[in-house]
């Protein structure tokens, strides 16, 4: 049995489900869970996203068959708007992880992120910290400690221009899109300790730019839904 989280699931045929799971030992795995929607199938109701489960599967190729499941872990209860953030975190993993690439460290970070979303920590900070850790783990982590145009160390009191494909620069490059960022933010990000609202805001723009580079032009559905949520919840 492998500890797993279900990132996404949908109904398949009448009584089955297709699962995209994130496993601590095997990375992202696609499973078909046959007959789990039947009344007679015990534990089928445990197959919920954001819930830690022990799963066993068999088969070959890209789609395995679920053969056993157990839940020895307490269920998470992420509430309200934070559920939409959990969709976002799941979608990032679905879009950026290759199947069968193991990321045990990222599994722990993901688990920590879900618990932080449940416990009511600052949502923006939780998401930004997840994004930077995810990028680092996948080898897409940006340069944060020195300016790429001068090679000098980033200083806390100084302002920089962040070029998405390259890193922080001391001088603005004319005609190029760059994101203004404080040296303090870069250093906090390198430590994984975002505290000030300003640092979180600046980081959001940088993360969004870098992540977009790796999504191949297709936008994130969960972000679109979140924007619709803000719009609908704010109107009337």
């Amino acid at each position: 049995m492998h500890p797993c989280y279900i990132l996404h699931q949908r109904d398949y045929r009448e009584t089955s489900k297709l699962l995209e799971v994130f496993s601590s030992e095997h990375g992202r795995v696609s499973l078909v869970a046959r007959g789990v929607k039947r009344k007679s199938f015990r534990n089928g109701h445990l197959l919920q996203i954001n819930r830690k489960l022990d799963l066993a599967w068999s088969g070959r190729g890209d789609l395995y068959t679920l053969i056993n499941l157990e839940s020895g872990y307490p269920a998470l209860e992420i509430q309200g708007r934070r559920l939409l953030s959990a969709f976002y975190v799941n979608e990032l993993l679905m879009r950026l992880l290759h199947r069968h690439d193991a990321h045990p460290q990222l599994f722990r970070i993901y688990e920590h992120t879900l618990h932080a979303l449940q416990s009511g920590e600052n949502e923006e900070r939780v998401l930004r910290c997840f994004e930077i850790e995810l990028l680092k783990e996948l080898g897409y982590g940006p340069v944060l400690d020195h300016a790429i145009d001068t090679g000098r160390k980033v200083e806390p009191g100084r302002d920089y221009h962040f070029q998405i494909n390259h890193g922080p620069m001391e001088a603005a490059k004319p005609g190029k899109d760059s994101i203004p960022v404080a040296g303090n933010t870069l250093l906090a990000l390198a430590r994984g300790e975002l505290e000030s609202p300003e640092a979180i805001r600046q980081t959001k723009r940088i993360m969004r730019g870098i992540i977009a580079q790796h999504l191949g032009g297709k936008p994130l559905a969960s972000r679109k839904m979140y924007q619709e949520y803000l719009h609908l919840a704010g109107s009337e």
């Binding site: 949908r10 009584t15 929607k37 109701h45 445990l46 996203i49 269920a75 559920l83 919840a233 009337e236």
Partner: protein, 199 residues
């Protein structure tokens, strides 16, 4: 070319769209109909055509209906102040069997961004139109007790926040992860009577 064989193959292929029917069963059904029940099969073919062409969605509640407004929405005996929001027609039937006597709104799914199902696909704008009619006193969120069902319920509760409505969520009683259509009527009846206010 053997026309006979190709017609049979086509029939067998078509029968496989039925839930739970694989190649073997499809073959069995096809031979049975051809050998033993041609009148029944012709009647089935006719009913299928009529139903598929004649049944659309109720303009008010989105449930299946052959008229512009379904029988339930037109029934003057229903309590028009209560609106129960469910994920599917099967869920609606389950709530109906639990003794609910208000009206419904059927989402035909739940929020699932990765499958491209968002507020638009679930008819949230129709829901707003329905609430604009002003008859509803209470919205009862009876989406499934799954993560997607909870997210859907939360989304709707935020969307209707500024209307002068009571918004309730059916109570637990339905097991976590349980889907309404598979829960017995008494459990569901408890869940309905123990619903709680979200705001």
């Amino acid at each position: 070319m053997n026309d006979h064989a190709s017609l049979i193959d086509e029939l067998i292929g078509s029968l496989r769209c039925l839930p739970g029917v694989g190649r073997k069963s499809a073959q069995r059904i096809a031979y049975h109909l051809l050998q033993r029940d041609r009148p029944g099969a012709l009647k089935l073919a006719q009913s299928l055509t009529q139903a598929m062409q004649g049944i659309a969605h109720c303009r008010r509640c989105r449930n299946f209906s052959e008229a512009e407004f379904c029988v339930l929405c037109r029934n003057p005996a229903r309590d028009r102040g209560l609106l129960c929001i469910v994920e599917s027609p099967a869920d609606m039937k389950a709530v109906e069997e639990a003794g609910f006597r208000g009206l419904y709104f059927v989402l035909m799914g739940h929020l699932s961004p990765l499958d491209g199902i968002g507020p638009e696909e679930l008819g949230f704008s129709n829901l707003n139109q329905l609430l604009d009619e002003g008859e509803t006193r209470e919205v009862i969120l009876a989406t499934n007790s799954t993560v997607e069902g909870e997210a859907t319920a939360h989304f709707i509760s935020e969307m209707v926040r500024n209307r002068s409505l009571q918004v309730t969520r059916i109570a637990h009683g339905v097991p976590m992860g349980g889907e309404l259509e598979y829960v017995d009527a008494s459990t569901l009846s408890h869940a309905l009577s123990g619903r709680r206010t979200l705001r």
